[in-house]
Symmetry: C2
Subunit: 129 residues, 2 copies
């Protein structure tokens, strides 16, 4: 963060802490609510600006979810099994994709620093209805 030439401020700390503390993807509204516990005066706009910055820096990934985009730290739970009907998620540990990253970097000149692997389908409950 500082390495990239951006300032480390209390607002940014609070927002990062909110994402760190909870192990699941959060909507901007949830991030605001959580971060305000630590920093009561925090403004909505700052949350949006900071989330965009964290995405830019590759520290956070936006994910579509029923009800809008949610954000989660890159390191946590990037491999999921998601029910497209009710939205339940299972976190997976397997990752057959990591090995491809280096190969892609070499081939396309990208600096690859994360990936997302999601399987979609219907959970047992939703298969019934």
């Amino acid at each position: 963060m500082r390495a990239a030439g951006f300032r480390v401020t209390p607002a940014r700390r609070a927002i990062a802490a909110a994402l760190l503390g909870v192990g699941r993807p959060l909507s901007p509204a949830e991030v605001l609510a959580l971060a305000r516990r630590e920093r009561p005066g925090l403004g909505r706009a700052t949350v949006y600006r900071t989330l965009a910055l964290l995405v830019q820096l590759g520290l956070v990934v936006p994910r579509p979810a029923p009800g809008g985009i949610r954000y989660s730290l890159v390191s946590k739970g990037m491999h999921r099994l998601v029910c497209r009907s009710c939205g339940v998620e299972l976190l997976l540990t397997e990752c057959p994709a990591g090995s491809l990253a280096g190969e892609l970097a070499r081939r396309y000149g990208f600096q690859v620093d994360g990936h997302l692997l999601e399987f979609y389908g219907l959970c047992p409950d939703c298969q019934r209805s």
Copy 2:
């Protein structure tokens, strides 16, 4: 579609055709504009309702993109290399994930019918700035 007990209507055809015609993820506004070429009176609300239905049915996936959620047909380009700064995308052909799908179905009782694999990073141009 019909198999799942839903009606096949001109509005739905036009929306599906829009997604089929263009090979990239579209925002709801883009879907509306394209589908209106075929069906001028099409309403915005119908686009949202139909996109949600197509996601439910597993025919379309929502993806986060700079500027909001975009939708694309499941069959097309589910494996991508995305620049988190400018948003350029490369489609990939490799897929080390397919083999896991069956295993997950067995283990968790999910009916797995699609997956999304994305690598994030910086494209050569954005690495410079």
